[in-house]
Symmetry: C2
Subunit: 207 residues, 2 copies
DNA sequence: ACGAAATTGGAGTATCAACTCCAAAATCCG
DNA sequence: CGGATTTTGGAGTTGATACTCCAATTTCGT
């Protein structure tokens, strides 16, 4: 990868990016297996030889798509989660997720979750890669909750690690139910319920 | 279906069932797209003509698999959820789910959830079918919680409908995270956290 | 500008999976 | 038992898809 990346022209890099972005979009909207190389070629406006010049095969392209989506998702959530000033900021985080889903008309669900479900049983390497992505996401949430706890906005005996797992599960489950029902409500309700739970664990601010 | 089912010999019914069960298993363990008709033939011990005698094509077989898994899942959960005597019975429900997942070594995740993720963006009919399956599951949970509420084991101002959505999301999200990490812990933690939330909504029994 | 290296175009191939067809065998019902 | 019906076996066809190959062109460092 370093060898190849080193010898990559600006134009080449642009072409490679175009392929990855197109592949990521198509795989989200139609699933990995049902996205053909030909579809990706058409969407990215490249010829077969170009695609195979940058990627040895479909597996390698899938790897690149996972990396791309991981970066995209973690970037968005990092912004929202790094400063959970008040418990209300959790509500803004929820709004961001619900808005993105609504803009997509609930198509595709979670960019990482759908890849995980598609690939977990067919590509062990991809599964490991996605497990790491979820671990990173979970850690982002845990960190945010731990910060809140240090500010005294969360009970001292609450476990940010377990709450982060439960929150991420609520997000993933909510996204799946929203995807299958084409209705953003399940995601909103699932996340709101977890936020309610955090409220219940919130200490009164005054000592 | 009625026409065909009417003219179905005992042996024919057995063969059909064998095909559906084999297909359901393979699709859970490898995904729908990566399960070939040939694989199903081999697993069920039937020839191509037999399979196409009972099903017009792969789509019809997928429909049958969804029906089969829906029945399987709802049957299991009906048993657990129809009598939520105390809040502890929720813990037994969680144990059933965690045990099933552990026996599968976290392979496949949820029989309905993985189908939903696989098919939502490629087969609108299947998506609708799965949406109905989840609605039924959700209703089972809602009913159980509503019963608890009537017995006074849940606060009167709690909303069993929304809690059911959140609980089902926790189950689905937990199963996905467990599947991808090959560790039953996320499912356990996600469901336990929702149970904790219900605890917090539980009125003291004594007035 | 110039040569080496990266990039691109498009025709072609090999494989695999879904599906078909027809005749033989087993099964059911009166 | 006997005839109609259902069930089964297996070879063959069609279409799609991942992937290859090589020559032409563009880009980059010096």
């Amino acid at each position: 990868m370093t060898e190849i990346a080193r010898r990559l022209t600006r134009k080449g890099q642009a072409t490679r990016d175009r392929i990855v972005v197109a592949a990521a979009r198509l795989m989200l909207e139609h699933g990995v297996a049902r996205t053909t190389i030909e579809d990706i070629q058409a969407a990215a406006g490249v010829s077969p030889s170009q695609l195979y010049h940058y990627f040895p095969g479909k597996d390698a392209l899938v790897t690149a798509v996972i990396d791309h989506q991981t970066t995209q998702v973690l970037d968005v959530h990092q912004d929202c989660l790094q400063r959970l000033d008040t418990i209300d900021s959790l509500g803004r985080w929820r709004d961001v997720m619900v808005n993105i889903l609504t803009e997509m008309q609930c198509v595709g669900g979670c960019p990482l979750g759908s890849l995980a479900s598609d690939l977990s049983e067919s590509d062990p390497v991809a599964r490991t890669q996605l497990a790491a992505a979820f671990a990173g996401w979970q850690e982002l949430i845990r960190q945010g909750l731990a910060d809140m706890q240090q500010r005294g906005e969360l009970a001292a005996d609450a476990d940010p690690g377990e709450l982060a797992v439960a929150m991420l599960a609520a997000v993933q489950g909510g996204l799946l139910l929203s995807q299958v029902s084409r209705d953003p409500a399940p995601l909103r309700i699932a996340v709101d319920t977890m936020i309610d739970h955090l409220h219940a664990l919130t200490r009164p601010a005054v000592p």
